[in-house]
């Protein structure tokens, strides 16, 4: 046996991360496509199953409802509008799932937050922003309490938040008790945001431009930094193609949603001026997801969240303050649940004894899982909240249009959740077999 330290090829032209001879380097368009297909076959599915699922749902409902489902009115005024509150809550669920924990009380938390907000607003004569802050602070305190119990007494999060589910439901009934249902004036900021604010056409197109431009700019900047450091650089043609596709896709979607007064107009399909454009609440959800994705993938905090979810002991030994990570995530989750509750108030125009009790909890958790976040911690993405909630709401809107009762909605949503989990475990199995894990 001989020691053969692999000679570092100083003169080699290959980037320093591609010098290993065992690496498979696809060259040219055909090999790149083949490599992509192999990646998917070996279980690195990414968002593919969920996107295919969403397309299937759209096509099926479009056929069943005879072209009512993809109607611009439906999309802009129902689907995207209804996604926002539970979608926001689901972003928080993604965070706790990444840690391998769970928060079962998000529904009750949103209901309690809705109750606190409306009661303080109608009886306290405080400005609306103060009431919003009061609700959100209440959410943070609840999260802090969960985190404290979890960290100090090692009570499983399942039990802590199950207790929270009951207690917060009690709090909601207590707060709303004397007044019962509280109806918010339609002029209030929250109701406007939830129901009637749509982005002006120029803002919607501007956002699309910023998204595509931002993607291209960050990708090119990163390429330049990698190039300077002697690392491999993804093809800039690919970056341009992806940015262009993104821009075209967003512009087509926005135009289809038909923002009022837009010089581009809708597609006049099926009728002119039938959409409302992009709802502000939905745009808010998308921006929230983008920010959370950034925080999870590009900051020290996000890296720590994944590390704790993957191997707590390793994270602790690496010097990560594990307790702080747990507490921060429980606080964020409860905060987002409270925020979702406020958006629910805006959407429905009132807070009732049943706000947040129905299936908010399960939908928020199912959305995160359907979107591809693992229940076992360490794997997932903020985007899964958005994709998952789109699937769930699409099913509910479609079944509503078919005038099926809630029993069908529960059955179908449950079935979709099951399929999503099966796809997840199948892809995990083939990931392991292909050495991706």
């Amino acid at each position: 046996m001989t020691q053969t330290p692999t000679p570092v090829a100083e003169s080699s032209t290959a980037p320093s991360d591609l010098q290993d001879e065992r690496l498979i380097r696809p060259v040219g368009a055909r090999e790149n496509v083949a490599a992509q297909i192999k990646r998917i076959r070996t279980g690195d599915l990414g968002a593919l199953p969920i996107v295919i699922g969403l397309l299937l749902i759209c096509v099926i409902f479009e056929i069943i409802t005879q072209a009512n489902f993809l109607h611009a009115t439906t999309l802009s005024s129902i689907l995207f509008l209804y996604c926002a509150p539970v979608g926001v809550i689901s972003v928080g669920i993604v965070l706790v799932l990444l840690l391998g924990q769970i928060d079962l009380s998000v529904g009750s938390m949103s209901g309690a937050s809705a109750a606190i907000f409306t009661v303080v607003y109608t009886t306290g004569h405080l400005p609306e922003w103060a009431c919003i802050i009061a609700s959100l602070v209440a959410g943070c305190l609840v999260g802090l309490f969960y985190g404290f119990l979890f960290v100090k007494f090692s009570v499983p999060s399942f039990v802590v938040t199950l207790a929270g589910l009951l207690s917060l439901l009690g709090l909601q009934l207590l707060v709303l008790g004397p007044t019962g249902d509280v109806i918010m004036p339609p002029t209030s900021f929250i109701v406007q945001l939830g129901q009637s604010w749509y982005l002006p056409w120029w803002a919607a197109y501007l956002l699309a431009l910023i998204a595509a431009g931002g993607y291209a700019a960050t990708a090119l900047l990163r390429s330049r930094a990698r190039n300077r450091a002697g690392l491999s650089v993804p093809s800039s043609l690919g970056v341009y193609i992806r940015a262009a596709l993104m821009l075209v896709g967003l512009v087509v979607l926005i135009t289809y949603l038909d923002p009022p007064d837009s010089p581009l107009g809708g597609f006049g399909f099926p009728a002119q001026n039938d959409g409302f454009g992009v709802s502000t609440a939905f745009a808010f959800l998308v921006v929230l997801v983008v920010i959370m994705n950034y925080a999870l993938t590009r900051t020290r905090w996000g890296r720590s969240v994944f590390a704790v979810g993957g191997n707590v002991e390793a994270a602790r030994r690496a010097g990560i303050r594990v307790n702080r990570i747990y507490i921060s995530v429980f606080v964020l989750c409860a905060f987002l649940a409270a925020l979702g509750g406020l958006m629910e108030v805006g959407l429905l125009g009132s807070a009732t004894l049943s706000t947040g009790t129905d299936n908010v909890n399960l939908n928020a958790i199912a959305a995160a899982v359907i979107g591809g976040t693992s229940l076992f911690g360490g794997r997932g993405s903020a985007w899964s909240a958005l994709l998952g909630i789109l699937v769930i709401e699409a099913i509910q809107v479609g079944l509503d249009q078919m005038q099926l009762n809630s029993y069908a909605q529960y059955i179908v949503t449950g079935f979709v959740l099951l399929v999503a989990v099966i796809v997840d475990s199948l892809s995990r199995r083939s990931r392991v077999a292909a050495g991706r894990a």
């Binding site: 001989t2 692999t6 320093s16 991360d17 290993d20 450091a229 020290r300 390793a314 690496a318």
Partner: protein, 274 residues
């Protein structure tokens, strides 16, 4: 075989030890796990810590790693007496411990694992800098990792050990403690890790190698410190001793099951030759 130790020539007279333990004792309840242990580690030297199960190897490692402090005795590090109350204190001194379970996050890629808890960059992580430094480090160790952007879960046992050892070097330690680094590895992977240990020595680090495998110890270590039932039971320069001497020290006597069997086999061989 080129994995023969290059026994460092009489370092002890010229260089001061990086780390010395004197009279260190540690008890757990009624059990005295370590009593009056002495240990020196010199820079650029691989010290093997050997002993049977229950000899106190793990306890000694845990004291140095800051998992639990000793009851009595002194530890001096670079000539200064130190106190190691916590794992972070141990790391801050410059003692890097690679535990047997490696403590890697399987879901994260190699770069993330190497820099876990010590990420570079401000609010946003500097992925490019971390990646190029990872390559630099892995090349210095001649580590055979095909890509640093794959999840650690998909690496082989030897590669995972390599990542864990490489990670211990990120904080620029003066001593690396390896707990059973070859325990779960195949032949080729063991050789890879042994190469790695020699490279650590070439970098001037003191290495404390805990191993049950005497072949590994003889291959890379300069010195073997034997513990038996919580006490020092001999210290050998590997170049000067035989396998049997170490075995005798580990088991506590020349007259024991292992050496008797060896002797019997030896005698039988002699008998045959006649």
């Amino acid at each position: 075989m080129t994995l023969v130790s290059k026994a460092s020539p009489a370092k002890h007279e010229t260089v001061d030890p990086v780390l010395s333990m004197r009279d260190v004792s540690k008890g757990f309840g009624a059990v005295q796990a370590l009593s009056r242990i002495d240990l020196d580690i010199f820079p650029g030297e691989v010290v093997a810590l050997v002993g049977d199960n229950g000899a106190g190897k793990s306890t000694l490692v845990k004291i140095l790693a800051g998992v639990h402090p000793q009851d009595s005795g002194t530890i001096t590090f670079h000539g200064k007496p130190v106190h190691i109350p916590s794992p972070s204190a141990s790391r801050a001194l410059g003692i890097a411990t690679v535990f047997q379970d490696l403590a890697l996050c399987d879901n994260l890629d190699v770069v993330s694992n190497l820099f876990l808890g010590r990420e570079l960059g401000g609010i946003a992580l500097d992925e490019v800098d971390m990646e190029s430094r990872s390559w630099e480090l892995l090349r210095q160790l001649s580590a055979k990792i095909p890509s640093v952007r794959i999840a650690v879960a998909s690496l082989s046992g030897g590669q995972r050990q390599t990542v864990a050892i490489a990670r211990s070097l990120i904080g620029d330690p003066s001593i690396v403690i390896l707990d059973e680094p070859t325990a779960a590895l195949g032949v080729a992977q063991t050789a890879e890790v042994l190469n790695l240990i020699e490279r650590l020595r070439e970098r001037g680090l003191g290495v404390l190698l805990i191993s049950h495998n005497l072949a590994d110890v003889q291959a890379v270590a300069d010195r073997a410190v034997v513990l038996r039932l919580g006490r020092n039971n001999g210290e050998f320069r590997i170049a000067d001793v035989s396998y049997e001497d170490i075995i005798a020290a580990i088991t506590g006597a020349t007259d024991n099951v292992v050496s008797r069997r060896e002797a019997a086999v030896h005698a039988a061989n002699l008998e045959k030759k006649k």
